[in-house]
């Protein structure tokens, strides 16, 4: 089995100027599922909860406590829709990565598409993948062939030259830098909006330019959050995908033993944990950035300069950085 992992999402088909990628497809399915499933639970909500409602309430209550304890009653309630949406979307999107079929159901693309075999040196040949012209013609579903060509002795992956390109039909949405960047930009925008709404444009600038010579650094700091938020989430989810792919390939290579069958279980459990942690980190950072931006000038001066001084951020920020 060749390990087919591309850093960028593959374009499934072209829709006007928009190349519909596999991560986009998964994103739409995930969003629809979340809205339908949770919307259905919420629609039938009763004062005495059913089991499904209990689960949803557990999540909602956890998030509500989080925003109210961090942002206060007023700001917390205002950012709750965004923070809650971010957390639930990221968490459940990350779980798609461990589902069977995500990343292993392939579209057979045209044979003349540029084939690329991605193995251990995945980042190196990102450019070799031709993204703009691989429309999936006659989208025939084909479950990944299990013809593993890994030599067990050396553990090196033989690069098999296939005549045709394999396009995974589904890809975890957050393993797409566009998705994480979109969310980070939204967060950044909401932070600025909250800051301006609380203090006005002048107040926001004064908030950043205090002391004045730090203003450029503060601005860079603000913008760097976009990169840190998006890159952290993308890196974690993508690395999780790579990890699972490699583990599956290794397990496939060990043909005679029973133990390898259980090896992926450990990593699936870890990915579940990481998925939740990353969702929490993204949601919590969004919450904290907005809270800091809209907080009054007095008292939170130091926190604005350095998030690490904030008692609530430290633990999660470091745990996020550690992943």
């Amino acid at each position: 089995m060749e390990i087919h992992i591309s850093v960028k999402p593959e374009v499934l088909f072209q829709l006007g100027p928009i190349g519909v990628t596999n991560s986009m497809l998964t994103m739409f399915i995930m969003m629809a599922l979340l809205i339908i499933v949770f919307g259905n639970i919420a629609r039938k909500a009763k004062p005495v909860p059913s089991r499904g409602q209990g689960v949803f309430e557990l999540i909602a209550e956890f998030l509500l406590d989080l925003v109210e304890n961090t942002g206060g009653k007023k700001i917390g309630r205002q950012v709750f829709p965004l923070v809650g949406g971010i957390f639930i979307f990221i968490a459940f999107s990350n779980y798609t990565g461990i589902l069977p079929g995500i990343g292993t159901i392939y579209l057979k693309s045209s044979p003349e598409a540029v084939h690329s075999t991605e193995g251990e040196g995945a980042p190196a040949e990102g450019d070799g993948h031709n993204s703009e012209a691989t429309p999936a013609e006659g989208a025939a579903f084909q479950v990944a062939s299990i013809d593993t060509t890994v030599s067990p002795a050396t553990g090196a992956f033989a690069e098999e030259e296939h005549a045709e390109e394999h396009l995974p039909l589904f890809r975890p949405p957050n393993a797409d830098i566009n998705m994480t960047l979109a969310m980070a930009v939204l967060t950044f925008t909401m932070v600025q909006v909250a800051g301006i709404r609380a203090h006005g444009v002048g107040g926001r600038i004064k908030h950043l330019a205090d002391p004045p010579f730090l203003f450029p650094i503060e601005v860079i700091g603000e913008f760097s959050r976009i990169i840190s938020l998006s890159a952290r989430l993308f890196g974690n989810v993508f690395a999780g995908e790579v990890l699972l792919g490699v583990i599956y390939a290794m397990v496939g290579a060990m043909k005679f033993a029973i133990l390898p069958l259980f090896l992926p279980v450990v990593f699936i459990g870890l990915e579940l944990l990481f998925g939740t942690i990353q969702a929490l980190v993204f949601a919590l950072l969004t919450l904290i950035y907005i809270t800091l931006a809209s907080a009054s000038h007095h008292g939170d001066h130091d926190e604005e300069h350095d998030d690490a001084h904030h008692p609530a951020t430290t633990g999660h920020a470091t745990s996020g950085a550690a992943d």
Partner: protein, 162 residues
Amino acid sequence: MGALGLDLWGFIVQLIAFIIFVWLFWKFALGPITKVLDERQKNVRESLEAAERMKAEMAATAARNEEILAEARQQAGQIVAQAREASDATLARAREEAAKQSDLYLERAQATLRQETEQARQQLRQEVADLSVMAAEKIVRKNLDKAAQAALIEEALAQAGN
């Protein structure tokens, strides 16, 4: 940037999709559940407060009952004591009255007795004197012998005795 798969249209589509998702998710899922949670919290708080109020009310009622009972008990004791006192007084007075009355009667009776005795004695004295006079007259008139004289006195005495 291209190596990471950055794509302007993809970015725009996913940004808009995410904004719409957050809005829809809030409108149809998270918002209603939050409302349910808030309502439940309010209900629980109100019920607890009502229970607390009820408890306080019950305690107040019990205290008032106790108070009323104590007051009633005290009043009853007072009434009984008063009644006993009154009856005692009445009894004493009656006894005194009776004693006084009986004394009065006794005194009056004794006075009457004394008077009558005195009267009787006076009368007797009178009569004895009359009789003696009468007897002396007879003796003088008849001049009788000693024996007849004695018999006459005897007779007169017997008459006087009646």
